[in-house]
Amino acid sequence: MAAGSTYTPIATTTLGSNTNTVTFSSIANTYTDLVVVVSAAISGGATDIQYRFGNGGTIDTASNYSTTVLYGTGTAAGSYRQSSQTYILADYYAVPSSTLGNSAAIFQIMNYSNTNTFKTALNRSNQAGGGVDATVGLWRSTAAIDTIRFYANTNGTQNFLTGSTFTLYGIAAA
């Protein structure tokens, strides 16, 4: 890969205060794939991070999402599946703690602007004190993704904490 030519930072957010959602909007359709790197801490009691996609600035909150999870807890390994949900699960056991630096998640969203296909996202979430997850999410829409919103807990009922970082990269095939 020619350095810098195909892996471009689109936007980055370091939270200056606690917030329940983080949104990347107006994502240009000039790339092929997207990568999001999240290093978050969330308030106590959160059981997961969720995310949704949108087009035209409108987040799809309908039951158009599914998630498959492969997880390891440190003592058990397993898989979990949910379909026809209103969100994609970003994690299952690797839920961030309330301490900054304790979690890392990397999302890859393929062909995000292809209007002929539904959208698939791969994710690896890591929280050494909780678990290790690999997830696959599906958005059953042929609309191009121009908005991504992350939620701390179900529908953002907890907070991402100050200092959490979210960075969106675009990867171009040519």
Partner: protein
Amino acid sequence: MANTYTLIEAKTLGSAVSSVTFSSIPSTYTDLLLKVSVRSSTTNDWIGLYFNGSTANVSGRIIQGTGSGVSSSTSNPAIQAILSDSSSFTASTFGNAEVYIPNYTSNNAKSFSIDTVTENNAATAYMQLLAGLWNPATQAAITSITLVASSGDMAINSTFYLYGISNS
């Protein structure tokens, strides 16, 4: 266009060695990405990974598949982080790994992600996902990464590529 995905250093082993260190890692990037292709000169199949010269204060959880089963356990990434093709595995096959370290210069603990596999023309090969954490008593930017064979040496032609990724 911004130079956001930059090769910091590449190493290809010309002879078997027990450890490889990337030192003096600049603080000018946001994240680090390490790509490894490694084979062992002995029956060892683990490579440990640690930061800033200290094997202390690292922890991890793994999920591993063998081709016939799956399990999860806690691990010490300083000893067991990356899968290496053992010398008993099919000749010329190498273990591969990708290590991603966000915010490596922060003053917080450093969480990292490892996906690693072996390949082997036999019934058993391994795939592992690891959630790692380096949490020293005094937080510091990562300035060096050491990979060390749990026993014996890493074989000739093993490769190690360290990239820096910038968010601006």
